[in-house]
């Protein structure tokens, strides 16, 4: 443990200071809420011009669409992550590369969803993550192919192929699409979790697990809830086969329920995520959807990231915590941009901001 700390102290000083600097330029919640008050997209772009996204936003033409602006924000996020990768060494660099690898799963999930919903390549290319490791040319070729399973085979691996083998990928109503998306992203998060558990040690591992472990647990919870929503049985084989605090027994109890309300009731009594799921049933009844879960999970992860930043500074957890903040900021900005562009009122836009 002492040797890990010494390695961080001697080798990762540069990155640690860089991250602290980048953190100081993150938009605060109040700033995001103020952006939601701005009536036009061009004024929002102007307000962001001096910040970390300024470089990407300056490449936009004078009259740019919301999609192009959101894309510039995503590129800004990607450039921040790439900047950290280039300034890192040793296992921190490997950790960042594994973090980036997760985005392949996001890309694959988006590809399958968009393709099954008959959307065009242009729509997909604007929605995909710029951080994804698969080149745009290859993605385009995959998108043009009729067989979605072939895409899963090329980008994914045998594990993912087996996990999604019996799912009909051609027909995807929205609720099923969300379930399939969680299964695909679960595959990416599983690889990242395995990397953290098997390759990191001591404080590095224990500082990352509250985020990486909770992500896997909450994805499993989400898969179970969505399967109950659309009445899919035998979901066990589609779950992420690793768990942190949400063990097999707890998941088994959730799977044994007969309907969504009962599952939400049981999820609310889970000791592991009791605060997160306490009012889940009530919120589902109010909103008639599970969209609140995504927001709550993001909020939970940001809370964990905040705790990591307040803890011991010389760990990889600090890097991960910053990335969670940055992802959240980019997501918040994208929500403000799409909300303002689609003419929502400031209060409606503010409701879209996670933290």
């Amino acid at each position: 443990m002492i040797s890990d700390t010494l390695v961080h102290l001697l080798r990762d000083n540069y990155l640690e200071a860089k991250i602290r600097g980048k953190k100081s330029f993150l938009l605060q919640r109040q700033q995001l809420l103020s952006l939601a008050e701005i009536p036009t997209l061009s004024d929002i772009v102007a307000a962001l011009a001096d910040g970390p996204y300024g470089s990407e936003l300056s490449k936009l033409q004078e009259v740019s669409s919301a999609v192009e602006t959101e894309r510039a924000i995503q590129r800004g996020f990607a450039s921040s992550v790439n900047n950290l990768v280039s300034g890192s060494k040793g296992n921190v660099r490997q950790f960042l590369l594994e973090y980036v690898r997760r985005f392949d799963a996001y890309d694959l999930a988006t590809l399958v969803m968009f393709k099954s919903q008959g959307k065009t390549w242009e729509e997909f290319s604007t929605a995909r993550q710029p951080l994804g490791g698969v080149r745009e040319g290859q993605l385009r070729r995959l998108y043009m192919m009729d067989d979605l399973r072939e895409s899963v085979r090329i980008i994914g691996d045998k594990t993912l192929e087996e996990r999604t083998g019996d799912i009909d990928l051609e027909e995807m109503p929205p609720e099923k699409a969300a379930l399939v998306r969680d299964i695909f992203t679960g595959w990416g998060e599983e690889r990242f979790y395995n990397y953290v558990v098997k390759r990191l040690h001591g404080r590095d591992r224990s500082s990352c697990l509250p985020i990486v472990g909770a992500t896997v647990d909450l994805l499993n919870l989400s898969i179970v809830l969505r399967s109950k929503l659309i009445g899919v049985s035998n979901i066990e084989e589609h779950l992420v086969p690793v768990h942190w605090r949400l063990d097999k027994q707890s998941i088994g109890r959730l799977l044994a329920t007969t309907d969504l309300d009962e599952t939400l009731e049981k999820a609310g009594s889970l000791t592991q995520y009791s605060r997160l799921m306490a009012n889940a049933r009530q919120r589902h009844e109010e909103t008639k959807s599970l969209a609140f879960l995504e927001m709550d999970v993001k909020r939970y992860l940001v809370g964990q990231a905040r705790r990591i930043f307040l803890g011991f500074p010389y760990t990889i957890g600090v890097v991960l915590a910053f990335l969670i903040f940055k992802e959240n900021e980019a997501r918040g900005l994208a929500a403000v941009i799409s909300g303002v562009a689609s003419g929502l009122k400031p209060d409606q836009v503010k409701a879209l901001i996670t933290v």
Partner: protein, 151 residues
Amino acid sequence: MVADTILFAGLGVSLSLLLSVLGAALGISISAPAIAGAGTERPETVSRNLIATILAEALAIYGLVVGLLSLFAITPTLSPDGAFRIFSGGLTMGVAALGAGLGIGTSGAALASATAEKPELFSRTVVPLILSEALAIYALVVSLLLVLAAK
């Protein structure tokens, strides 16, 4: 006997300089990357944060001062008592500079990280850095007294 005393005193000179240089190198090698990293995000903090590397460099100068004074005190008539004083002075300075170098390096890196996030924290976070330097100054005073009493 004369050769033994000169060898012993010479060892003190070497230890003073060698360990002080190691302390300075440690201080600089830990703090400088952090200062550079902070500078990539907040260039305005670099000049102020450089105090950490300057203070680390001063450790080598303390070692050099003690070493040179010790060197001037080494004469063919040097007594065994004087040689031991020079050796002790050199060892005191060297080991203290090594410890102070570690302190300056870690607190300098923390200073750079803290000011990268909140530049207004400089005046408060610089205090541990100065206190680390003070450790070496205590040793410098004692070493000088030892070396000057060696003649």
